[in-house]
Amino acid sequence: MTTIQLLKGHPLSSKEHATHALLYMWKVRKFEEAVKDLFGRGMMHGTMHLSIGQEASATGMCLALDLADQITSTHRGHGHCIAKGADLTRMIAELLGKKIGYCGGRGGSMHIADVETGNLGANGVVGGGIPIAVGAALASKLQKKGTVAVSFFGDGAMNEGAFHEAANLAAIWKLPVIFFCENNHYGMSSSTDKAFAIHKLSDRGLGYGIPGVTVDGNNVVEVYEAAEAAVARAKSGGGPTIIEAVTYRWEGHSRSDKNLYRTKEEIEEWKHKDPIPKFISILHEKNLLSQVEIDAIQQQAYDEIMHAVNEAVKAESAEPSGLLDAVFKKVSA
């Protein structure tokens, strides 16, 4: 197991911070590519929801968080999990149904949680994690812990009742929570144009008295700056914020997706807005990292993922024995 080494702060504030931001974006990208490859080779079961193209939003948000701050995530949650500091081997192992996987093979891709890094879990139900994040924020307030909870969700979840009820509770109780909407333009095949009568999804906050901000979700610097402001507001008792990070998923919704609802041209257009080269060009502009350093970071991300895959493939498979005993937590005497 690797030790948790997160570096909080503005991605342009130092060489270390820039390295960290780039490394994590690349880790997410390489992780998703590895998952796609494992699927293609028939080594992975079930389905997959890849976040390729959305690396800046998960990374930018988590750069503003402390280890004790909590997140809830979605079916497309690998990026959030990695950006919050999860162990890559245990993640891959879970996807491969191994005993050392985060859920011991019982949850799979959509249910990874990691207590140590404050990840309260991905979720298979659209919007399911939003009220849970509000509850974590309520606990933080009642216990005076000073932590913030972030709920990651997609554009589709904004039309779920869960979002609306959770937003209202957070607003009336001024809870330290951030509603982080990754608007990737599609809920499965439903485009935001068809599913919303508003253009800026952050405007949804108006009805609840929650400030909303819309940022370029493919620009990690912009995402971080919005995240930092929202965290500061939440931690100082100012209450919730909605952040809409406008981004795009390159891959289909899941492995069954034939991309019938969008054009190749549209996908190609968004590939030109790739968040990783976008950040690299900022780094060049600011002279923060050299090309040699950048190449080394990319290699490190690749090596870490390959190491995780190799370790996970070798690990012992989960066994059905003991499943009945796993339903409830044992009552201590």
Partner: protein, 338 residues
Amino acid sequence: MSEKSDTNNRMLTMAESLREAMTIAMTERDDVFLMGEDVGIYGGAFGVSSEMQNKFGEERVIDTPISELGIVGAAVGAALAGMRPIVEIQFSDFTAQAMDQIANQAAKIHFMLGGALHVPLVLRTPQGSGTGAAAQHSQVLETWFANIPGLKVVVPSNPADAKGLLLSAIDDPNPVIFLEHKLLYKFPGRDAVPEGSERIPLGVSKVVRRGSDLTIVATGIMVNKSWDVAEKLAAEGINITLIDPRTISPLDMEPIHESVRETGRLLVVQEGPSHGGFINEVIARVSESPTFGSLIAPIKRLAGMNIPIPYAPQLERAAVPQVEDIEVAAREIVKNWR
């Protein structure tokens, strides 16, 4: 049974005993809090939390907007983050609004997430017919919850049990659905309620009375109706063992097997509709065990009709088993199968 240890002969209503349990738990530990619609100054729709906000303040007895999904979801999140929330949902019918958080989140988190997290949450909610509130305020939904692995389901039938069971439910590290029959709130039970903080463990069926002619297994208010029948028939020489599972999930079958082996006759009673009902599980477990060989009579079940609960009092009464129905069934089984 621990509840017999009381010497003060304190007779409380179930609303009072539930309030006492919550008060004890909230006094014992800081992480317990109560949240729900109108639980504060109003005291809850049935007065269960009356005066509690005065005692514990607005941060520990939290009035919420009408927002069942939001409330239960927030309770799940608070439980994950180290608190022990008690949520009151005003009528169990309204749990339908919150079902994702109950069934897909709270129930599954411990298992699905590999045991890393757990949800110490109690959801208290009134259920049952008899108040003329019609189909959307009168259901008995215990079977819904019992069919979801990961939930513990408690159905108290009297104030003394309600107190000890609620204290255990609050201690439990798992989500517990605590279903209170609304007709029981205002009436004292037969047993005194102990003053202390004694717990009654979840998953232990209670043998309410013993007799060798017939075993009745009943849930919730049907335990009380069955008791009345047992009293009446005892005078005629028909002796009934009455078993109250108290926790319908997990279900403690042992006292049921033991009693049926002795009586050879089994009558099961629930208020909810018969189709797919909880009592069918009791019947199945008896039928697939060696206990089946002890039966000398066909098993009989009494349950609600398979209809929504109607409004008019005569229609409402007809929809669920009444004392007379239980009496007729009990008498017939014993008389017809000797």
